[in-house]
């Protein structure tokens, strides 16, 4: 399943963001951040413990099932009093959850996590970004492997000169996307795809910020 992959912010950064805000309500999420161990029940409890030791008053904690879901608003209402008492909400969900909650409450929100990418758990405890949602998919010609995402330079016309024994020159732990593509196309007997010239990408395919309205 595809997850929003997050990492906890460094403690010093959280301390800085919470400076002068003594009463804190902490929110976690039962979905992606529970899987990545960054904002589930145990992490929210640990955060409560840490902040209490630093002299903060924790007015309450809540782990919502799906922070980015519209129903989150209903759950927040049930905790209205504890939330009202807080100077700020420390939200240990991905940025989708943080923004969803922020839009429903008149409170300063402090993200406790950095949202890294939308990715897949490819092995136990290992997450990989496999699609950057560029809006102009070319994987029909690259054996189903996305070079826009998986190549550090996002090259669409073949590898650079830095392939190092099948690994990327900038990270020995990462496979060279174009070596993977080459091997896949070879296996499929479709090396002719490597010869195809890919024209300059259409960045208008995914204008930032993205917006889509489904026409009836």
């Amino acid at each position: 399943m595809i997850r929003s992959v997050t990492q906890q912010k460094p403690e010093q950064e959280i301390d800085r963001l919470l400076k002068g805000l003594d009463r804190v309500f902490i929110i976690g999420c039962g979905t992606c951040v529970t899987l990545t161990h960054t904002g589930g029940e145990p992490e929210v409890s640990a955060m409560k413990e840490t902040l209490t030791q630093k002299g903060k008053l924790i007015t309450g904690t809540l782990v919502v099932p799906v922070a980015c879901d519209n129903l989150t608003g209903e759950m927040l209402k049930e905790f209205g009093k504890q939330i009202d008492q807080a100077d700020a909400l420390l939200i240990m969900t991905c940025a989708f959850g943080v923004q969803n909650i922020a839009s429903q409450l008149k409170k300063m929100v402090i993200p406790g996590l950095n949202t890294l990418f939308i990715g897949k758990e490819t092995a136990f405890g290992e997450f990989n970004e496999i699609c950057t949602q560029c809006g102009t998919c070319i994987i029909g010609e690259t054996g189903g492997i996305c070079p826009v995402t998986s190549c550090h330079k996002g090259l669409v016309n073949g590898p650079c000169g830095g392939t190092d024994n099948g690994k990327c020159e900038i990270d020995k732990n990462k496979d060279c996307a174009w070596t993977l593509i080459y091997n896949r196309l070879k296996e499929l007997g479709r090396l002719d795809c490597m010869r195809k010239y890919q024209p300059p990408r259409n960045h208008l395919g995914e204008p930032t910020p993205g917006k889509l309205r489904i026409e009836n």
């Binding site: 330079k153 016309n157 073949g158 000169g161 392939t163 099948g166 300059p200």
Partner: protein
């Protein structure tokens, strides 16, 4: 192949001479003297001088301005341009800027990843890749069109080059990749530094088998080693670099103070051997922070004096 631009390098290559290019890295400051001094050392021994574009992703004086300094000295520059730092608007704009100073050679590269340099947290661009940049320059020159389709008044007259690395893996991809660059419009190639001559010759043979040597001028990349330490560093730390153990052994086999001389000997011998390889059209001598040795290398390799072609 008829001459398409006023480039001296192009004329020399098309006349069938072995071409010789070299490169200078711009300084990490605004004093142009550094670049002029380097160019002065080698100007009589090469046909054109490449100016690197923030090589290894370390911020430096820009390639275009450095090329203009060369041009003002009467030296022919090769403008290196990487796609790492500029989007398609900036690239086209800089190409016109170069053409306005009658800079007639360009090398299209993707560029080292920013994580190697002084701004590892910087954003890379790669709006175009090197393949697309090659095609872009050719279109600007031959059709007089911007990427967006509008006409260019006084199109650039640029001889278009690119890099090739015969040593990066997978090896079997490397000649087809050269073919793809040729199809995109590249006219000359400067290769990665060559130390494994056998492998390079194998790559050249595969290129000849496809007739590619008749479609593009291949300048073999040569970088003299200053020491056994440098050779080991290149072997172990520089991705895509193939330094055979014999090279390291040979350098280690002489006393330290003799190693630079031995490095030059290795380089000269390699040029002499590769001169005989069909399809090698010249040499790109990259003496990194050792430019003063380029004249000696050129002379001992029989690449001096340089041919004179009509401007």
């Amino acid at each position: 192949m008829s001459v398409k631009t006023p480039s001296k390098l192009e004329k020399i290559l098309r006349a069938g001479h072995l071409g010789v290019t070299s490169e200078c890295g711009p300084p990490r400051g605004s004093d142009p003297e550094a670049i002029k001094e380097k160019a002065e050392l080698i100007r009589n021994h090469v046909d054109a001088i490449n100016i690197t574009d923030n090589q290894t992703s370390v911020t430096r004086l820009c390639s275009l301005a450095s090329c203009i300094h060369l041009k003002l000295m009467g030296v022919e520059p090769v403008l290196q341009m990487v796609t790492r730092d500029r989007n398609r608007i900036a690239l086209q704009s800089d190409i016109l800027g170069a053409a306005s100073f009658d800079i007639h050679n360009m090398l299209c590269l993707s560029g080292d990843h920013q994580s190697f340099g002084d701004c590892p947290q910087g954003q890379n661009v790669h709006d175009l890749d090197s393949m697309q940049l090659i095609q872009l320059v050719r279109r600007m020159r031959d059709e007089g069109k911007f990427l967006g389709g509008d006409d260019i008044k006084r199109p650039p007259k640029i001889f278009v080059g690119a890099a090739a690395n015969p040593f990066a893996d997978p090896f079997e991809i490397r000649v087809p990749r050269l073919a793809k660059k040729i199809a995109a419009g590249v006219e000359f190639i400067q290769t990665q530094c060559i130390y494994n001559l056998d492998k390079f010759e194998e790559w050249m043979k595969l290129a000849r088998d496809r007739g590619l040597h008749e479609k593009v001028f291949i300048l073999a990349g040569m970088t003299p080693m200053k020491s056994a330490g440098m050779a080991r560093y290149m072997k172990n730390r520089v991705p895509g670099m193939d330094v055979p153990d014999e090279v390291i052994k040979r350098l280690s086999g002489v006393p330290k103070e003799k190693q630079p001389e031995e490095g030059i000997n290795i380089c000269v011998e390699a040029i002499q051997r590769l001169k005989e390889v069909e399809g090698v059209s010249g040499f790109h001598i990259m003496a990194i922070e050792w430019e003063e040795k380029v004249p000696e290398i050129a002379e001992r390799s029989g690449l001096y004096p340089r041919p004179v072609v009509e401007g």
